[in-house]
Subunit: 411 residues, 4 copies
């Protein structure tokens, strides 16, 4: 097969499925495999992935384990949160936003190691294959992508396990049976889907929860937290300056403890079907609320309404895998421009599943008590101006009404 890849960088978790892929690449193409394992805050030990890779014959220098947590939050999560991005009104895009970063490293490592292809373990039904592959296409169109789930005939659990056994791939006991649902995790969220969750008419069982406590088990006392922003990004918690990943980690702890950020959603996949997922985004949920809180006093209505109006499109682009596209970058330029004065502090109350802004202040505030007050305003605002404002806003409506009345008469 002249078209067969010679050297493939595989997004490798160390788990059973990507181990099978690793072996399959070796046997199917006789190619050299380079593994890439990223710490995106999914909360798993990564060193075992190295051991497994070595066991499967991967050369030491072909094993890449990288801590991407700061880059993930700084260059992907935070820019997205500047937009208050929500897919279909509710979803904080926790899986979507991690994929382009993985594509970036797959391509980087491929370029540095002279690989001609990359490979991933996403199935042919989901969004992740699209996200991975659009990312690779945008970053280096010469690199091939191998998507084994769309290629092989290991179409059932049984066949997969047979292949693993035939190839001496160790199978953890709990992987023998089907998992009751499938999980993806990173520093922004945990998503669960499939099997026990496939019927959207049935409530998701509590045992699905990974990082958010059931709200009944959350503390009976509220906790307050203050988040400080600079140009749209969180920079401190309770007055303590922290790195992006540290901020998100802390907010995850706080949110998880208080049962915040649980979402049960049926969403529209880019590939055309609906799917149901349970998402836990404790820190992100707090962050969105806080960001909206600080924008409330620092962002002008013109810029704010503009942002709101393009947000659904921006969120859709990220969901569909177009992070590295000219249109996402153009929208980002718009969003970032609006954040120049979005600095200040928000105080939130965390309690039983809710993060609610209760106060906010900023040196950049546009809120003018002098103008809005019910008290004497010392001439800050001339109420008579409102008459002219209304008259001219009403003029076209009056002309329409007069036209319609005139027409009604003649008909």
């Amino acid at each position: 097969m002249s078209d067969a890849p010679k050297k493939v960088v595989l997004a490798y978790s160390g788990g059973l499925d990507t181990s099978i892929i690793l072996k399959w690449l070796q046997t199917e193409y006789g190619c050299e495999v380079v593994t890439f394992t990223a710490d995106l805050g999914q909360g798993e030990e990564l060193e075992p992935a190295r051991q497994k890779a070595l066991l499967m014959g991967i050369k030491e220098e072909n094993i890449h384990i990288v801590d991407l947590r700061e880059e993930f939050v700084r260059d992907f999560v935070f820019p997205m949160f500047r937009a208050n991005a929500l897919y279909e009104g509710l979803y904080l895009l926790g899986t979507s936003i991690a994929r382009p970063l993985i594509s970036k490293y797959l391509v980087d490592i491929a370029q540095k190691s002279g690989a001609d292809a990359v490979s991933h373990g996403a199935t042919g039904k989901g969004n992740d294959q699209v996200r991975f592959e659009l990312g690779v296409a945008a970053l280096d169109p010469a690199i091939k992508v191998i998507a084994p789930w769309r290629l092989w005939d290991l179409s059932s659990r049984t066949k997969l396990l047979e292949f693993a056994e035939q190839n001496q791939i160790p199978i953890a006991k709990d992987k023998r049976g089907e998992a009751p649902f499938s999980v993806d995790a990173n520093l922004l969220h945990t998503s669960s889907e499939g099997r026990v969750l496939e019927n959207p008419a049935e409530e998701a069982p509590n045992y699905v929860l990974q990082r958010v406590v059931p709200v009944e088990d959350a503390p009976n006392e509220a906790e307050f937290v203050e988040i400080t922003f600079e140009k749209g990004d969180a920079v401190a918690i309770n007055g303590e300056a922290l790195s992006p990943a540290t901020i998100l980690t802390r907010l995850n702890e706080l949110g998880g403890k208080h049962g915040i950020g649980l979402l049960d959603l049926v969403e529209n996949r880019f590939v055309g079907m609906k799917s149901r997922g349970v998402y836990e985004t404790p820190g992100g949920t707090i962050l969105l609320e806080a960001h909206r809180g600080i924008e409330q006093i620092t962002l002008d209505s013109g810029a704010g309404h503009l942002k709101d109006s393009i947000m659904p499109r921006y969120a859709e682009l990220i969901y569909n895998g177009f992070w590295f596209s000219p249109e996402r970058e153009a929208l980002q330029a718009l969003i970032d421009k609006t954040q120049e004065h979005v600095s200040g502090t928000v105080r939130l109350k965390l309690y039983k599943g809710v993060a609610r802004t209760v106060a906010r202040w900023s040196d950049e505030s546009l809120y003018s008590e002098k103008h809005v007050t019910f008290e004497e305003d010392a001439g800050a605002y001339d109420q008579k101006d409102a008459a002219g404002f209304i008259h001219l806003n009403a003029l076209r409506l009056k002309l329409i009404a007069a036209r319609n009345a005139r027409r009604a008469k003649t008909k």
Copy 2:
């Protein structure tokens, strides 16, 4: 004053402020006053308004007290909820949506009673003056609007009380002093603003709350509720078919009891300033969540994303007072078109400030377990299709990357 109104329909609550306006209209213009008092579900007795009006010399036939609750929910609240409308990402537009209905009745009564003007008690700083007056302009441009707050010199509490005393207007004891904040209420929400709430850096005190219990006082046990929709509108609760106003009343009780629907917001007024309000929308918050829930399985992504993208503009129009405008009506046509199949039932969990969709089902469902399943799908979906789908979506990104690489070389 040849321009002076002869007969004025006043939006009359029966309270001190509109009683002062009533008297002021009589003395300033020597005109006949017609009172209009609407039951929009604000939760106040309206008969006292009749007594007061009579006391101030209004003729029996000039007193109009109308129960508008069903019309309010059916023709204003429900159409708006079809759009999942949120102003500035968070506000459910509880005050905004009631104003056009009041304008409609002011105009109707004026036309029927031969009045040449209408009057309202909104100040010159707020949005309500705009909403009332744009509504009147659109419905009958020949009718004048008298906005006393923009005209008179009763610019302080002291002067108002003096005027009341001079004119034998009874002043309730608790109206002698300044109220600590100002309240507007109807079946959709209660809003509080002003005075103790004017500093957005200070948390709103619990005594502001009117219809939502402090979340700490909400029951320690969750409650489940099922809401059934037909073509985008709620029609039943827990299987019981109910009228629009009854549905919202019941959801208000449920939401209020569980501390649901409290919002502390700094928003941008149409007249150019920021203001801070505390909003309680218990039933509306449940309804929005439920409507999103039923749309998740019945609405296609094309229609859904389109709706989401125009929603901010739709919400802004309502907030700004353009309910009776061609553009709101055109957007409504779009929204209503999308709701033809939005029928089915949503199950929500209510607990400690949160209303969360946990299940949904519908005869109109577009969710296809057969397509999305992790199991064998019996050919419902050919995973190989995804390759072509991705390749063509990637093509333009590859062409860009190739162009950029070519350019980088020559530079």
Copy 3:
């Protein structure tokens, strides 16, 4: 091949390519073929298609030749023109808008004749395959689509001609060689692309033109035409009431004669590549100008600006083949709602490639000379209102400027 179609409805032009497809379907699948030939105003005799089909063994009752001109203009072209739709700012969508109608008849005929598949002659590189197939999917998902260009190995002109010869398909002399460019035509436009037009840096030769005279050859005298609209659709020319297709036919004659409606465009195909086309849309170009002309006096700015803002998305949907989609239908509901008063007459000057509105009048006019006049306006408009209007529109800008000045000082 159990999956092979039993009976296929073929979109059949009678030309060489679709005759080859007809034969290929017969030989490849041994299936019964039903031909569908539509008169969309392409300006070709259709009876020869019947003769050819008979010659190739198609049964009389399996030959469908239908005049769709009125339906095409009334139900597709006119609704689209209500939106002033332009793809990428310039293209009047002449090919795109014809495709869903063909899909509709393919499906109708398939359902009536018990066919299990339809087939078309569009290649795998273009937009038309997408448009045909999305249409079929939306109208009857059970019907298979056979796209021979994506299936067979007749990948060169030589192979095609060989196949034709082997199968006794008559080849017109002028089809022996390659045509210098490829043409698609219907009542709305003629498009030319390919071969001599493939280099966008070279001017298209005049011999490409099919229905628009080279502008140098257009009459040296201007001609005026008056078009009357009702609810957004043209209904009369120079006072004569005419059917939709007749109107477009007449405007094509007028426009063609005056060299109007020629466009040389590089556009973005849905499948990801750029292509260059030469489009001739004489009548459509006049119609768009006239429709804008009548909207100018009958459409309010609110509705007008809303329409303008969603137009690019609407045009993109039609271009991409999503005519039969919920989102196109929802947008159409919006657009149609705005057209209720778009009635009246526009006078245009046609001269040397330009159709220009020079006058317009309407009983539905919103234009108020009384308001706009430079002369005394008898109180129609109070210039002092403008001060308040400006002050409140300026308020937020002043608050921003004050904030920025304050910040500049402290930095």
Copy 4:
């Protein structure tokens, strides 16, 4: 009058109207007047303005005559053209885009000369007052604006002339009578409106034309011009590098000679009424066509469609006077981001009122003949990919159709 201005910067043309304003300011407020006269390419001698100002007692150092042509085109016209901005589908915004620059200089001169107010000659019915005053508000909210037309009682031509005579203001003979229409001009366009143009049902007479020849008088031979762009801005004509203002001047000459850029429009003013104007934008019309031409090959569809979708809003902002607003600046950031590769050359044919792109080429081209060709493409594009692409785009449409069919059966 304690509120009276002490020192006022007047936008002074040297004409009768602004001379009357100058005198009126002096007599009404007893204030010092500073004159500001800008060369925006309106094609008038400006030195006479100096003489007149001196005659009316303005001090030498208070007279400012500034050539703003390069700044106008570079910082206002060109950024706007990057967006392909058209107001209401047709208007190139020639007047609108000049106003913020005048505001900028009014404020600059006021700040430098210690003036506390600025003044302009725009009436209370038009858009220009809004544009001037929003600009001033955004740039220095402390500066007052005096708008004499909204203040004085010189409400008729007779009164104005009387005032002029009483104050020894010289009146040119041709200003005794009413001008048949009113003109505004700058390097981008000439606009004419009022009086003979007030009836939109009557064709504008040819004598209105100021810079575009009647198309019948244009040369009978076409002329070709090549315009080179860099990052979205024109930088050369026929290979000759030129400054922004020189480019626009040359294109005006070319366009004017060939009768290009004439528009007769009824538009919606921000203040709520419709007005009719005749616009001549010869150079701008060529520039728009050329800019679209170069974008066709250098701009990706994602960025291009995004730009198109926000363009109407961008144009509306400029029309309404919000150039110096956060939302215009944010949109500009988006637009500018898309222009990074919009470089190359467009060849246009100019003839009898039409500027038409006939060819375009660029080192930044995304056009790939290899992909689009009708010939063998050597594997650049796999037509089979289209099947998967279509299948997944069709999936949701099929699910809808299946749902609807299922529902139809049960109803």
